[in-house]
Amino acid sequence: MPRTSSDRQPADPASQLAAPASGQLGRSTGGPYRDAEAEPAWRPRGRHTLAARDARAGLALISPTILVVAVIVIIPIIWTIMMAFQRVRLINVRRQGIFGHYTLRNFEVVFTAQGFWSSLLTTVIYTVGATVGSIGVGLLVALALRSRFRGRGFIRGLMLLPYVAPVVAVTFCWTTMLDPTFGLINVWGQRFLGWDAGIPFLSQPSTALATVIVFETWRYFPFAFLFITARLGALPVDVEEAARVDGATPWQRFRFVVLPQLGPVLSVLIVLRFIFTFNKFDDVYLLTGGGAGTEVVSVKVFQYLQSRGDLGSAAAQALVLAAALVILMLIYLRANRRSEESAL
């Protein structure tokens, strides 16, 4: 259907939303990630075409969102970058203009601070441990709950509890359970496992980080479970049936039929969990306060900010966090692409 600009509605901004559209609505069969270049070449361009009107309506509809995100997200990010290069403290920030004195001093403070590299390493260990743990457990539980039985829906719902409950409530419950004197785990450990004394899981360096990783695995395996369950439900049955007919054992059917089909969702999960865990602040802060060798980078940012009021260093440390994340993600994506290429 050829589009003409016969419809001569004035393009006044107020009527943009209500602009009557004769004929077809603009097609956008592929989601938002469809290339602009993929647009058919025959589409006429002009102020009064449907496409042009759609474009204006689109911008009008999305502008409130852009406004909010710009004010609360984009501008603050730019300001963080500026603050990272200025010696700003909470007490002198009023006097410090935007075009104040720029310096690298904050980065010097951050990089030479005691425990800078160890906190970066802690963050990486914590992130990798929690990512692998939560996805591994999520995969195991999703597979176990794959075939139907009475009450499966209810159990699937139960599995999501750790993820939806408020983090403050569950960390409080965990710290109580792990309490060395009257916590359930230590009482049972002494009673049934013959521990000599209560173990201060969250305050001794030999166990604190591992305990935090276990907590993180517990809290976020439901997230992986959700995604993997959704994918498992959408797998075509006949491929597995064919493998069964060909005599593949249950393990072979999993290893060579099911697992490869889960590949894409697993790599999405790895990226998402890695990013979210790397940025995480609340869980570690609430469990250990960053003590006993669990000081991840985001907790360090918080300490610069809250206890020292050193805005410049906090901003610099936050940028280090963001930069480290970007670098690690690039490495991952690169390695991933290479392994995919070699698989071909």
Partner: protein, 310 residues
């Protein structure tokens, strides 16, 4: 006809090839997996539910009893008490911990966040899903980046700005930050829903003389309503559970504490008995769990919309 005999044929197929070892391996693997599966299910249920059961149990036991018999998971019924709940909810003036006030604050922040997030995200996600405009690709990429960006990077300037503007201690200010953080997630979820509405329905509306605005309000939005509800609940959960920005903005004002902040601040002090705080934990956990189970199905579908396509 004969699905049964077909099934039987399939079972026999490996034997027919004379691969006896394969069959026995198949046999024991099936058994091991059959048992292992139930072991995993039972363990998973225990591990997920036990902390919540413990939380609930402690909230009902007097602290003295807990200290005497800390390992008991099945206390006698006479022992149980609900006085912890009255204590945790009552205002500080009447000797309580003021959780009722915290609940009110959290409810206010969460509802404001939900309302404004939806107000911005519904038209925004519709535009991204349906309309082509310059920069739409760039915009959805930016939203994804915002969603994945470390909140800590935002914490520094927002903390500074709120301090300078005297907005610290303001619940509306906190809600503003939550709106900006939840809009990208809401758009991501709603976009998926809008994309599943058949375009032919909208075109039919246009043929009947609807404007774009009418198409949205009369056709697309009613169809997406269940999804809008579940997105609303998810945003509510995020706002209700959030901790970092509440800590940064509200910590000096006890009367403005949200539930998360209140619980974390009080759990730091030794004066408040653990059992009372467990009652507080239950009180703040129940609303999200109830909401979650109401909306579970739609919520799960919305969150994992991309996963099914692989």
């Amino acid at each position: 006809m004969s699905t049964v005999s077909l099934e039987a044929d399939r079972r026999q197929a490996p034997t027919g090839t004379g691969n006896r070892r394969g069959v026995s391996r198949d046999h024991w693997q099936t058994r091991v997996f059959g048992i292992g599966r139930w072991v995993v299910i039972v363990l998973a249920v225990i591990v997920t539910v036990l902390p919540f059961y413990y939380m609930f149990l402690l909230s009902l036991r007097p602290i003295e009893e807990v200290l005497v018999r800390p390992g008991s998971l099945l206390p006698s019924l006479q022992e149980l008490t609900v006085s912890t709940y009255t204590r945790v909810l009552a205002s500080p003036e009447s000797g309580g911990q003021g959780f009722l006030q915290f609940l009110r604050n959290s409810l206010f922040v969460a509802l404001v966040t939900v309302a404004f997030t939806l107000l911005a995200a519904i038209p925004g996600s519709y535009a991204i899903a349906r309309l082509r405009f310059a920069g739409s690709r760039w915009i959805s990429f930016t939203f994804l980046a915002v969603y994945l960006f470390p909140p800590m990077v935002l914490a520094v300037p927002l903390f500074t700005a709120f301090t300078l503007m005297g907005l610290r201690g303001s619940l509306a200010g906190l809600a503003l930050v939550y709106i900006a953080q939840t809009v990208p997630v809401a758009i991501y979820m709603l976009r998926g829903y809008f994309a599943t509405i058949p375009e032919s329905l909208e075109e039919a509306g246009v043929i009947d003389g609807c404007s774009r605005y009418q198409v949205i309000t009369r056709i697309s939005l009613p169809l997406a309503l269940p999804s809008v509800m579940s997105t609303a609940l998810y945003v509510f959960m995020i706002a209700w559970n959030e901790f970092l920005f509440a800590l940064l903005f509200l910590v000096e004002r006890r009367d403005r504490w949200t539930v998360s902040l209140g619980l974390s601040q009080l759990s730091g002090s030794i004066e408040v008995p653990t059992t009372v705080l467990m009652a507080g934990s239950i009180v703040i956990t129940i609303p999200v769990i109830v909401l979650f189970f109401i909306a579970e199905r739609a919520l799960v579908e919305g969150l994992t919309a991309g996963a099914e396509k692989g």
